[in-house]
Symmetry: C2
């Protein structure tokens, strides 16, 4: 437990904001100083007004969209790079990181918001809101009744920070939670956890499938036509992860056949979703514009809290949290 | 606490089903006998196959849509008429009831389902789902971010069985609950209750308004243009009561101006809502086909449980429950 050597000369943080990003996601200088204290030297710049000299001296970097080539060529002293997203697939492999540096992500920051969103999506699927929204487009009144969600069963694929938050909220309403995660370790809000190899066994047991796994080589395309066919007839599907984990063409087919009764998708291969995309008009499919996990009221503060916590850990010689591991891909 | 005299000759129940009604709402002879036991004489008929002789002898009547003229003319021995709806406005005044008879309703039967629906509607309004559904109709991707619902405030107008169930579920997610009800008496799931006279004071404090009051002379049009204007800018509105409690034209104006950010309406003046109705296309308004409180999996069983409970109460000389009072209108 020795203080990290690179802190000796004083920590120097370079923050890069993307010009044009939603103002709610700007990392402001005041917020940074409030979170990290006066001992950290701070430079905050937009990506079109870079300070390459400050970047060269920096030991810490924080940003929402990391230009890995820039850091590789201009930031030899970095020890910790923090990204304000949870997903890090654009930054892998980590060969651009200076020797000895780590990448940390903001996994967990989304939990409060995404738990609520996940519960809402489950309730919407149970009450057939995607059907009613489809019918509204055609001015069609057609009642479809369903019993309460209490006692029904959700399968959460990927029980990390996001999936765990959805599980916690689902249990508040008496929903039974099945989970899939690497290692298959138990979780306080999951009734029954299995490893990814056993996905096929649990798919037919679920009334709802929620996908919250990270996108990695192992999860790309993990929910394809066969997995959708294995779901209980009339099941509902939610994707809060990345579009590439699921075969959306197969999902559209399952929705058109009625095997899947409704779907709520928050993520798409191309965002913004083009007006010509077929997904807008697939029956019983609701397009949500990637909002499930974003909380503008506290997002950046929570990211800064992770960075501040890691600086304390480094000072006390403790292991850092939220370190991205290249071998597992998140 | 004397056994009701009219039970002495044995209770005789006449059940009327409406031909063409959703089969989930048929009152089946087996279910009736299971609920009431062998001592009750039971006749179950569709409304196009009436048994007027059995009706004349009946002391109890149960049905989903009561033909008050029929009962007035043909059922002189009735002591208890039970309707499977909660709303009773078509049956008022009660001058068609034989002398000494009471009308009981099924208030409370909807609670499990409507609590979930109300919570879902609040989450949908917080996450701007009505906006996204409107945008989906036009193939428009526009992100709109909002913080978690925890800590926000809902005003529930009418805290009876329905409103109380919504309050209970809302509190599970940390939503603060303001309530309006006659008498203003406290409620275990309501943080702050006021009487209807003080509605104007609490409207500006709410992020969401949920209307769950019965339709009576006092509540007709209770949410009009002035009440909607008194809401906090950007508030969301839910109606689970009856269409006539709210001025939908004023609501459409408020939605078009953006003063109300979204609305979820489960009830309409004419149902089925005609294809030509303007509500289908009002921006940020979601049309739900009167499903919020219907639970086909247990609805009739719960109605029968109320009737069975009242028979026990009559046998023990106790006051009946769910008795409709003409003076208050529900």
């Amino acid at each position: 437990m020795t203080r990290a050597a690179w802190l000796e000369g004083g920590a120097r943080l370079y923050v890069e904001n993307a010009r044009g990003r939603d103002p709610a996601y700007l990392i402001g200088e005041t917020a940074v100083r409030d979170a990290l204290g006066p001992e950290v030297e701070v430079t905050v710049r937009f990506d079109d007004q870079r300070d390459l000299e400050a970047l060269r001296r920096a030991t810490l970097f924080m940003g929402g969209k990391i230009d890995t080539a820039l850091l590789s060529a201009n930031a030899p002293n970095l020890r910790l790079v923090h990204c304000t997203s949870a997903g890090v697939e654009p930054y892998l492999p980590l060969d651009w990181l200076p020797a000895g540096a780590v990448l940390t992500n903001s996994s967990g920051v989304h939990a409060a918001k995404v738990g609520e969103f996940g519960l809402m999506a489950l309730l919407m699927l149970n009450d057939r809101i995607p059907l009613f929204a489809t019918n509204q487009r055609a001015h069609v009144w057609h009642r479809h009744l369903n019993g309460p969600i209490a006692g029904k069963r959700v399968l959460i694929h990927g029980v990390g920070a996001l999936g765990g938050a959805v599980a916690e909220k689902a249990r508040l309403l008496g929903i039974e939670v099945l989970g899939v995660r690497r290692g298959g370790g138990s979780h306080p809000h999951v009734d029954h956890m299995v490893t990814p190899e056993r996905l096929g066994e649990v798919l037919p047991k679920a009334d709802f499938l929620v996908v919250t796994c990270p996108l990695t080589d192992r999860t790309r395309g993990v929910i394809g036509a066969a997995e959708l066919a294995a779901l209980k007839p009339g099941a509902g599907v939610v994707n809060l992860s990345r579009a590439a984990v699921m075969d959306y063409d197969a999902l559209a087919d399952a929705l058109e056949r009625g095997h899947v009764s409704g779907a709520i998708l928050d993520v798409f291969e191309r965002e913004p979703l083009p007006a010509s995309a077929r997904w807008w008009d697939v029956p019983n499919l609701m397009v949500v514009p990637h909002v499930s996990a974003d909380d503008p009221t506290s997002y950046i503060d929570r990211c800064l809290a992770i960075l501040a916590d890691n600086l304390r850990r480094a000072a006390e010689g403790l292991p850092l949290r939220n370190v991205v591991r290249e071998d597992r891909g998140y």
